[in-house]
């Protein structure tokens, strides 16, 4: 099944410059594995070494932040739109790492 995935500028080096690509999977984790099979390395930019969604990457299924719908276990359906947006964050104190 086809799911449209919108790719932010900073990750387009993995997709040959494409702004959006198609993927498949029953869950977000499956989708990211599918994308990584064609765009090697992209999964590693979104998932930590411990296997969790990176804290400073926002991924949305349609209009929902996946953190509110199961994170990597979020269910996907044919025709869903997935949007990846790097968080905009920072601040005076070094507390992020």
């Amino acid at each position: 099944m086809a799911i449209e995935v919108r790719i932010p500028t900073i990750l387009r080096s993995y997709t040959g410059g494409a702004k959006s690509v198609e993927g498949s999977g029953d869950t977000l984790a499956d989708l990211l594995t599918d994308l990584d099979s064609r765009y090697a390395g992209i999964r590693g930019r979104l998932i930590t070494e411990e296997g969790a969604l990176h804290r400073f990457v926002n991924i949305y299924v349609n209009d929902e932040d996946v953190r509110f719908i199961g994170s990597l276990d979020a269910k996907l359906n044919d025709g869903d739109n997935v949007t990846i947006l790097p968080a905009v964050a920072g601040g005076a104190l070094a507390t992020w790492s």
């Binding site: 932010p8 500028t9 900073i10 400073f56 926002n58 949305y60 209009d63 932040d65 953190r67 949007t83 947006l85 790097p86 968080a87 905009v88 964050a89 920072g90 601040g91 005076a92 104190l93 070094a94 507390t95 992020w96 790492s97």
Partner: protein, 163 residues
Amino acid sequence: MLTIDAAILDAIVAHARRDHPDEACGIVAGAIGSDQPTRHVAMDNAERSPTFYRFDSGEQLRVWREMDDLDEEPVVIYHSHTATEAYPSRTDIGLAAYPDAHYMLVSTREPETTEIRSYRILDGVVTEEPVRVVNADVDQHAVQSYMFGQSPAAVDYECRAGN
């Protein structure tokens, strides 16, 4: 070089002053590829913190969709430091994920003078750039003065008419 309209800069500084001592954040959108910031969007700081900021994820999606519809991109991404200088912290550098944006830092630590500086942040490397303010009007009542990082001294804003 970042070129920005005085009215937009005023709105950014007003936002930073309003949210002080918490950090304020937002963007200025502009047409893709134009490098001209034209539409100011003050964002919520979801952290509501004096030392950290993060765009609310839902608001960010709405604003980014709106930019897509208008063929815009975030030309400027700004936030304030409320007790430290207008220089990117290690956090700011580590989390900078928009290589095409001008990262503007506004320091509100001094009540009378606002420090404004702009940077490119790419792969952990910070490059400061000059800020050029255009369309500044004469305002007899202006008391706010801005200090730009690459200027030799404080700039009295009301003296910049004719730029």
